[in-house]
Subunit: 318 residues, 3 copies
């Protein structure tokens, strides 16, 4: 293929794609303001983690002399970027609901609201740190494989997930659109733990292993709750789709509950009482009174003396 025919082919391709931009209008951006940027939102969360766990995720050693300047620098950086992303998110929401094409993102009210929301969020950092500190202690207390607080902060997916959730939840409470969900799904992608930003979660929360955990938007969780991999706190049915928005669809889990791997608890009226233990793979759709241990009769095992898989097979010629 010579250069000329290649160029013609490319032109044709591009025109077909531009044509398709007219047809699938549902997946087009609005054009009047910049769109929020997923990478920058994640960058903000990463910088926030440095502030929440000083010295753990920085490139250089933290000591008291530089801590003040360093923290100040990080906060100014977060405040600027977060304000900007809130402006874009609010503008996007306004354009989508009004259908107007005026330059919403340059309006003073949107900018002032965004500066204000950004400050309100940042003032929650000490509270978030207070909660995270209890989560780290719960992980050390609950996991025999944990050898230090440092190991937990550096590497535990449950700590990463609850860190991102506590950030996302504060943004959610401020009714900031889009950004909380981007953070939740970023955390889901890193940890396999899917916590909707709307969920309310108490102190000393520990998720062990975590892959496959799902915690729905209207879930309320008390203090000292411990959850294992594959646990779902879900809705009985989402057949109602958008008609169910805002309805309480997910359970309440009271203080001191432990839920083992693969168990599911469904329904907005379901309350798991204080101190309950729920065994692996239990499937629960009704409330459980305080102090109960719930388990299932595990499915009966069937044993056969099958011929074992060949062990002397020759792999060497593969």
């Amino acid at each position: 293929m010579n250069n000329e025919s290649r160029k013609i082919k490319i032109n044709k391709l591009v025109n077909n794609i531009l044509e398709s931009y007219k047809n699938e209008s549902c997946i087009l951006p609005h054009e009047t303001c910049p769109m929020p940027n997923r990478d920058i939102i994640i960058e903000i969360a990463t910088t926030l983690r440095m502030v929440l766990f000083p010295g753990y995720f920085d490139k250089h050693t933290c000591n008291k002399e530089i801590m003040e300047y360093h923290t100040g620098e990080l906060i100014i950086n977060i405040h600027q970027k977060l304000t900007e992303q809130i402006i874009f998110a609010l503008s996007l929401e306004a354009v989508r609901s009004n259908g107007t094409s005026e330059e919403i993102c340059r309006k003073d009210t949107v900018i002032d609201d965004s500066v204000d929301l950004s400050f309100k969020f940042l003032s929650m950092i000490p509270k978030i740190r207070e909660y995270l500190s209890t989560d780290v202690q719960a992980a050390l207390e609950g996991d025999p494989a944990a050898s230090s607080i440092d190991e937990i902060i550096f590497s535990y997916p449950g700590i990463f997930a609850i860190t991102m959730h506590r950030i996302a939840h504060e943004l959610y409470l401020l009714n900031i659109p889009l950004i909380p969900r981007v953070l939740s799904e970023y955390s889901h992608s890193i940890t396999g733990i899917d916590i909707n930003a709307g969920a309310e979660i108490g102190k000393y929360f520990f998720i062990d292993h975590g892959t496959g955990v799902v915690i729905g938007e209207t879930t309320i969780i008390g203090d000292r709750v411990k959850i294992y991999q594959g646990v779902t706190l879900g809705a009985l049915s989402t057949r109602g789709g958008q008609g169910l928005r805002g309805v309480k669809r997910h359970p309440n889990i009271e203080n001191g509950v432990t839920i083992y791997s693969g168990a599911s608890v469904f329904g907005g009226k379901t309350v798991i009482g204080e101190g309950v233990t729920i065994g692996s793979n239990a499937f629960i759709t009704e409330s459980v009174p305080s102090g109960t241990k719930v388990s299932i009769k595990n499915p009966e095992l069937i044993f056969k003396n099958g011929k074992p898989r060949e062990l002397d097979q020759n792999y060497s010629d593969v």
Copy 2:
């Protein structure tokens, strides 16, 4: 340890490693052509996502004036890189199967074929966009926690997974080796959703939460199908290993089917009929007629009044 003895140790280490390169020949590259590059393949997919969802994943604002130039630039970039990776993938396959050491990757036929395959793939972009547009609508329709189309495109793992799958599947249909699987496993790594590039998937496809979903190579899925976390569409047995290559091993799922969390459907002769609903944790190895709701009797719960976990324990001295 002084520098001299350190140098001697390093030399010995390196020699032992080079020696081991002679022994484990199965994990050695071929030397005649460059190998495909995983990072560049992922870069191509990331750029493709910008074309498929214009304005959402770009750094700058999209408006009609620059859209044509911008799209053209992205397409030229994708075409060049994709052609090159196809050359390397075809060459690698040829060397592996022929065992020849001639410079296959510089042959005109390989290069011409690759340019052609790259163009064929790119011509599918409008079709991919058409399908993705229906997937986004299905997510909005099906999830009460979704608050806008923008949120879905920016953050939903189900949309990321189906985007990567629709790209990978077109490359798979063109018999391009290696690249489709690299993309599928990249998407698996980001989302926890494992869709083999061979699977055929209709319009309005929605995966909610998604972690742990497995969809096998020979699965065929109709339109308006909805799947939750932990669902497996799998093969009854893979004991046959390579002897089963190309055999239909995975089920057909017809239009309008919903499959709830943790359910499994196995077998190449299994057909789940139109409009079927499959309940959580059902384990299905035979066909289900249209319009049926299948559920399992959930395992009976055993309740004991156990002593609840101590709630007043002192964490503060940890």
Copy 3:
């Protein structure tokens, strides 16, 4: 808001955060030495993967002439960075357990130990390669969807996970703190496969799909074992928390065992004998003799002729 009032607000924020650093002392770094750095530990593992699979993850073509220089360069790079991270990890551990504030990380003994540990680890590379070579062969043998050894090395999450595990396990055996767990959790984050660095795993190990797999710290696995997504090799109870540290809590899996998706095996005294096959979703807390096939009676299915989900609903106005 003008600049002055913004500056005052920022100052107040920063002071509140610095104040909170005094309260949640459990999440503060030590100040005397640099902390280990998660990003650099992951960089070391990524470079190690280039050495273990020469030519697959490099940017340029590998051929015999440059292989020696290239490998030497990579090893020197790994040795330097790994030694430094071991110094920081040992120092952190020492400070945490002694509570002393002397400059442990500059002590000659810590430095000498770290250089030595780094060399000891690097000398295991040929052995790791020998094991990984069998893992790649097991993947090709066991998966009908695998089309080449190259595809497996480039893209299989099971291979990524076992590569990181074999690295982490050697570091664990050398009693290096923190670094093994950081690597395990990095691998968990990429693959959804959670293998504690303490687990002992034989040759020809294959994990298919893998999302949700959990393998506990004191698990011992023989040769030619095959495991599917969602399998847990876990502890019966971790209620004992830190009191259980070092106790054998997880099962032994002997040669030639296959464990299908979603099955769980619990307990430190549980032994799954040679050649056993364990069916999907089985829940096992006692030993199984060699050669047995264990399965469960799948939960009975309940069929209802429900009204199928509306298929003609109009999505177009969404």
